[in-house]
């Protein structure tokens, strides 16, 4: 059976863009130098690393020294939380993170809590948005760090990070934002006006997996988490993944080029998708519908069906989407994000995430919407509820 893949899972990862691929090729074809080496191969690698660093710095209007390359978003989040907590432990032990953070923040916060830090998990409203006043009320004289993501990976809901960042800065609290899902979707050119630490990941913006960055605003206290070398200002020991970093930098340029037009195009496809579903399928609910959301993400609860069953039917049709829960992903129980928004276990059980991207077409949107209508009808007809 020949079939075409329809990829509606861009929040999970993206296809490598040609510009990133092109930027990486030299390093697979002879330019294998270690940027720390003295000789000409080393210097070439060093030059590439510098170019990547300056490229990122340009995009975020920061200094090149404020760009710390990592292996990806998870490492950057670990570096931010563990590094800031360690650097500031004499000042205080209290950390605030939102309840809907990615697990690389949540689990790290839990680990810090287990090692003597005091962690507050800030709640969200029914739209999946953090209330800045609740965060403000949770701050204490010994609060050292607040970490709230810019956009949620499951619902796409944008968080009040400007406000939270400014609130933090007024109180001398370090503010970290996981901007992995926001980069390339909203303008982050002035991110240091409100954030001190910013997490980025390459493979969500059509770059290769294995690269990411933590932007570290000058003067932000941060202890080294991965010790070993002088690399990355001593913050991250280890020979740099030059190829992936070059790909990341090239993809970053593409991510911000014509951002508004891309966002408008993909956003209108997302709206078309949701309109179709609302028209064709009863008993559905669009999560974070009333929140400001990134343009590509649609998180939908289908009443009376279980998400993995929908996912498998889609997969058999060549359609890639993702479920907020499902033991298939190794994460037991329903999505912590949807639960934090007050959805019942059963509602969260029927939630699916569709994340559109550059390659998405109107035809694909219509195909997936029609497929979903059929699948949901079929599953409901055999549902015991």
């Amino acid at each position: 059976m020949s079939r075409q893949t329809i990829y509606f899972d861009h929040n999970a990862t993206t296809a490598l863009c040609p510009e990133a691929r092109q930027a990486m090729l030299p390093f697979f074809e002879g330019e294998f130098g270690n940027p720390s080496s003295y000789h000409h191969l080393g210097r070439k690698a060093r030059a590439s690393l510098q170019a990547s660093r300056y490229g990122l710095a340009d995009i975020f209007n920061c200094g090149p020294g404020e760009v710390v390359f990592t292996s990806g978003g998870t490492e950057a989040n670990n570096m931010a939380l563990r590094g800031a907590a360690a650097a500031l432990r004499r000042r205080g032990r209290h950390i605030i993170v939102s309840a809907i953070e990615h697990h690389s923040v949540l689990k790290t916060a839990e680990a810090l809590a287990a090692s003597g830090y005091d962690v507050t998990f800030a709640p969200v409203d029914d739209q999946g948005v953090v209330d800045p006043q609740r965060v403000a009320a949770a701050t204490r004289p010994d609060t050292i760090l607040i970490s709230v993501m810019s956009a949620n990976n499951e619902t796409g809901a944008l968080q009040p990070v400007h406000e939270l960042g400014k609130l933090s800065r007024r109180q001398g609290i370090v503010f970290h934002t996981d901007a992995v899902q926001a980069f390339g979707k909203i303008d982050l050119g002035t991110v240091f006006e409100w954030a001190d630490l910013v997490t980025l990941a390459s493979h969500k913006i059509y770059g290769p997996a294995g690269a990411g960055a933590l932007l570290v605003r000058n003067g932000t206290p941060l202890a080294s988490v991965i010790t070993g070398g002088h690399h990355e200002r001593g913050l991250r020991g280890g020979t740099e993944n030059i190829a992936a970093i070059a790909g990341f930098a090239a993809a970053s340029l593409q991510a911000v080029a014509g951002l508004d037009e891309k966002a408008a195009r993909i956003g209108s496809l997302r709206d078309r998708f949701e309109a179709r579903l609302l028209e064709d399928i009863s008993g559905i609910c669009i999560n974070s519908r009333d929140a400001r959301r990134v343009h590509n993400t649609s998180n939908i609860c289908f009443e009376g069906v279980e998400s993995e069953s929908v996912l498998l039917h889609l997969d058999l049709l060549g359609i890639c989407a993702s479920a907020g829960s499902a033991c298939t992903t190794g994460e037991p129980g329903p999505s912590h994000v949807l639960r934090a928004m007050g959805l019942s276990n059963m509602q969260a059980q029927g939630a699916l995430r569709f994340s559109l991207g550059r390659s998405t077409t109107a035809e694909e949107v219509d195909t997936v919407a029609a497929a979903l209508a059929g699948i949901v009808e079929k599953l409901r007809s055999l549902s015991s509820l």
């Binding site: 033991c327 055999l382 015991s384």
Partner: protein, 156 residues
């Protein structure tokens, strides 16, 4: 005060999955489930309800994931008809479908002896982390038989 040097993270035993020397890595199937499971998932057998059943069971908890309803019609100790409905994952749907197929036409004394393993074997296996789903079909069958027996003892 808590010591900061305590182990905050103990990784699971990594040697458990370690392959023997020379062993090839297991091949990851393109499909998570095998073809028989997919077949029973996409075309589940014996879906529906039975009016005035001789036995009925409701098992599982939708809030925890899966729920299943199962109806049987029994004559002379034999299961002459069996139908189910399920709110659940592909594993739950496929195992329920297979359980009803195995039980159809069986004497209740034999049906009572059906196990989860029988269902999983008939399906050619299901992924390890999905094995708990197979409990439901057989559990519902056994519960429906118990219900049938209670109803018939009341009639006597």
């Amino acid at each position: 005060m808590q010591s900061e040097d305590t182990d905050e993270h103990c990784p699971e035993d990594l040697s458990a999955d370690e392959p023997a020397p020379g062993e090839q890595p297991p091949e990851e199937p393109v499909l998570f489930y095998n073809e028989t499971v997919i077949d029973h998932f996409t075309s589940p057998r014996n879906v529906g309800e039975i009016d005035n059943p001789d036995g009925f069971a409701l098992v599982g908890d939708p809030a925890c994931g899966d729920q299943m309803k199962l109806w049987i019609r029994v004559e002379g100790g034999y299961i002459l008809d069996i139908k189910f409905k399920s709110f659940g994952c592909p594993g739950a749907i496929a195992t329920s479908s297979m359980a009803t197929m195995l039980a159809m036409g069986m004497h209740i004394d034999d049906a009572r002896l059906l196990t989860d393993d029988d269902v999983v074997r008939a399906l050619g296996g299901i992924p390890a982390n999905k094995e708990h789903c197979s409990l439901m079909g057989v559990g519902a069958l056994h519960a429906a038989i118990r219900d049938y027996e209670q109803r018939s003892s009341k009639k006597l």
